[in-house]
Amino acid sequence: MRVPYWNIDYGFLIDILAIPALAVFLSGLYGHYRKIRKGSERLKTRSDKLPWKFGPVFVRSVLTKGILGTVIYRKFYTGLAHGSVFWGMLVLGLGTTLAFANLIAKVPVFSGSFNRWFMAFGLDLAGVCVLAGLLFFLLRRLFPPDRLVTPRERSGFFPMACLLAVILVTGFLIEGMRIRASAPELGSFVGNFVAGLIPGSDHITSYHRYLWWFHGLLALAFVVYIPYSPMVHMVLAPINTALADPRPGPKMGVIDFSRFDDESGEEMPSMGVAKLADFSRKRLLDFDTCLWCGRCHEVCPAAQTQQPLSPKMVMATLAGFLSANDFTDDSLADAIGVDALFNCTTCAACMEACPVSINQPKAIMKLRQNLAMERSELPELMSKAYNSLEQRRHPFFGTGSGPKDWQKGIDVPIFAPGQTEYLLWVGCAATYDERAQKVARAMVKILSAAGVSFGILSKPRCTGDPAKQIGNEFLFTEIAQENIAEFDELGIQKIITLCPHCFNSFTRHYPELGGHYEVIPHSVLIGELIAARRLVPEKSDESICLHDPCYLARRNHIEDPPRLALEAVGRLVEMPRSKRESFCCGGGGGNYWSESSGVRINQVRAKEALDTNTDVIATACPFCLLMLTDGAKKYTEDQKVFDIAELIAARLNLN
């Protein structure tokens, strides 16, 4: 039977020393807490009841993303290494706690097969795992991948990993010395091995004693240092995950502009975010939690096409202001770069990739809102789209089409209150862009063929989503309210959208403004109609590669319905990045109206699709359609990009 604190006098001192160490640790954490408290309170938290939500805590995500760290394993080796260190340390921590329990309460952990399989074998194995993981991390810090160092690397990981490695190695040495000085222990395969390497010496017990104290003090130092180093993510990451609404997408919410109406108020709240204090606490927690791991940088379409934006850079810059305790400097946008802020396509790829549930696009959009609404600083093309949206209620400035052009030669019913079931919401792109108009025509053909009761508005409208994406919440609210009033008047309850941006706005933002509808994206409806055999398109062996629109797949987790529909007419092929991990077409976030230079996102994506050797590229968003059509022009002169509705409509036998 193993003796606790063998060879150590006053070993309990280390446990007593743990008390001040813990105090410093806690006070460090309190420092984080105090900074984060300086953020503004969330105005609205999600109020609907969820089975896994207790108070503000999303329990399921804490357990999965927070504790199990499920997202980390998307990078297999990093995930493995992280898992080894994390779980290994947990086991070692448990071992230490049990030893302490044995000391004070005589819990019999050092005897029998528990000792052999857990305290000896288990802890040794855990130690090996931790060391192996640390070796991986140390090597990776020495030969870092681009994502860790672009635009800059977070310091503090390397010394902490070294420290931990030393703690582990000394731990094994202590174990080895103890075994060398006593007898081999069943299960302690590392200890026995190390003992074999140690030359016999009279001083072995005193070396053991010194090393034991060294090891113990280092371990305490490690704990003390956690809140002051990037290791604080051990604490912050689960908290951040716990507080992050797990619904996909940045969840921008709406702004209540009546707050700004009262000009007599002492201090005018800013529209959007100009300084750190304007951010909500959750955002500040985001900045504090960010590991600078760069996983977001790696998937960001803007960063990957050498545009100034990198979500990691945004987080790092804001974290810089946070650690400098600079809450009043209103040059955040300039520090990040105005251009960079407008590069964001709001694709949310960064969010999806982030292992610690950070909402990067929301921070970006909040800063953008300030530029758009207070500073009136918009890139030129976006400002034109904005002007057009403001004046004509659609952003397609300079369009060559009238609002009814797309209906030429076909019969399109107008929504009749009380008679029509679905409103077919055409949206701005399919109304004003000649290419996208074909989608609307195809959809009319499909709905008529399937005998769906549908109608359009007599006057075309825009959801206002482009305004929201450009950052002008005010215009968005205005347009949305106009639409809601009209829908109310017509008694509209069910809406078919052609555009995922419209879908997202209707489902996420309109309810907050009082508009509640049953909304179905056209791709989903088509899939349902095919499943119900109300549509029987002809199947061919044409290969179809689906580009998942960010606003469907990633931001609303609609991935399979469009595939089901497409399978009815062809053979699906997939791009390396698909479904939730789809790569943006470049048109989101108002960037349909941007002058991008250099490598263009839509070309990158079009190339990826063409590289699958597909016959056609399908998508389910008019903006994706336009962006990819353009992007594909660089590589092929054939027209290969089509909307899902066009593909189905073309294969309908209407006899």
Partner: protein, 295 residues
């Protein structure tokens, strides 16, 4: 109809107005502005060195009243628009601007809504002030010169401090038989160089859309369109121009439009006689080379 033309000494500008004058009656009289010989022969001609229209109003109004002119013809230019309104108000005369068609019975046409509509008017009052849009009337050949009576401006209120002529290399835009215009699609000011080269080979002039002018890639005097120069070349090359109605308004009388645009759906193709759907970077150098080979 007793008609008076007020125009700068520029044969084409005067010639166009003479053509209009002759539709309405005999050869009109002329008040020529600026220095030099007065080209063409007129029953009566006056000459005034002053070119700031604002300073001419009083004298011209007196002249019109004194000599009983029934029609005053101006070109729809800075000069014309600066003086027409004030003269009209002074003389209680109808003013019609940007006229593109004139009939002997005093019906005239002028475009509305950026050329998307054309209105026809019957003029009843008299005198009447008309500003005539450039390039809509064939300039009458001006033969000989006329000795002009001096017309003086008393107490000018506006002083000319400096004048800056924009250098138009070679042929002037409005006289050019061939115009090569670049739009926002050109991408930068430097890229206009290829258009200059091409225009040089064709002995034409370089124009621009407002898109390009707004970007600062071309000077405002190069702008073609409703609010820029109204041109009527035999061939108009539109390179990287989308074809907004206001731009098309400026080339309504171009005989043949050749559009080079990478967007096959660009509106310009609706106006074009020939279209090339491609990046102009590829096409224009090839065209330049073809022109070189011919020489």
């Amino acid at each position: 109809m007793k008609t008076l033309i007020i125009e700068k000494i520029e044969p084409k500008r005067i010639g166009e107005l003479v053509t209009v004058g002759r539709i309405l009656g005999e050869t009109p009289d002329l008040l020529a502005l600026g220095e030099g010989e007065v080209p063409g022969t007129y029953p009566r001609a006056y000459q005034c060195p002053e070119t700031i229209a604002a300073n001419l109003v009083d004298g011209v109004a007196d002249l019109i009243q004194r000599d009983g002119y029934q029609v005053v013809l101006l070109s729809a230019t800075t000069l014309g628009s600066e003086i027409a309104g004030r003269l009209g108000a002074r003389l209680k005369a109808p003013v019609l601007s940007e006229v593109i068609e004139v009939k002997p019975d005093m019906t005239v046409k002028r475009p509305l809504y950026g050329g998307k509509a054309v209105a026809e008017y019957k003029i009843q009052g008299n005198p009447v002030i008309l500003t005539i849009r450039r390039k809509y009337f064939e300039p009458a050949p001006l033969e000989g010169t006329t000795a002009a009576a001096v017309f003086n401006v008393e107490s000018p209120s506006v002083v000319l401090l400096s004048e800056e002529q924009v250098q138009t290399q070679g042929v002037r835009l409005e006289d050019a038989e061939i115009i090569v215009s670049g739009g926002r699609g050109m991408g930068s000011a430097d890229n206009f160089e290829v258009l200059r080269e091409m225009a040089g080979l064709l002995r034409g002039a370089v124009g621009a859309s407002r898109g390009a002018v707004d970007e600062g890639w071309a000077s405002q005097t190069m702008q073609v369109g409703q609010t820029g120069n109204i041109v009527a070349p035999a061939v108009y090359f539109a390179v990287g121009i989308s074809g907004a109605s206001q731009h098309l308004a400026g080339i309504a009388n171009a005989k043949c439009v050749v559009a080079v645009n990478k967007d096959e759906e660009a509106n310009i193709f609706k106006r074009a006689r020939f279209g090339v759907v491609c990046d102009y970077h590829k096409f224009i150098p090839a065209l330049i080379q073809a022109l070189r080979e011919e020489q």
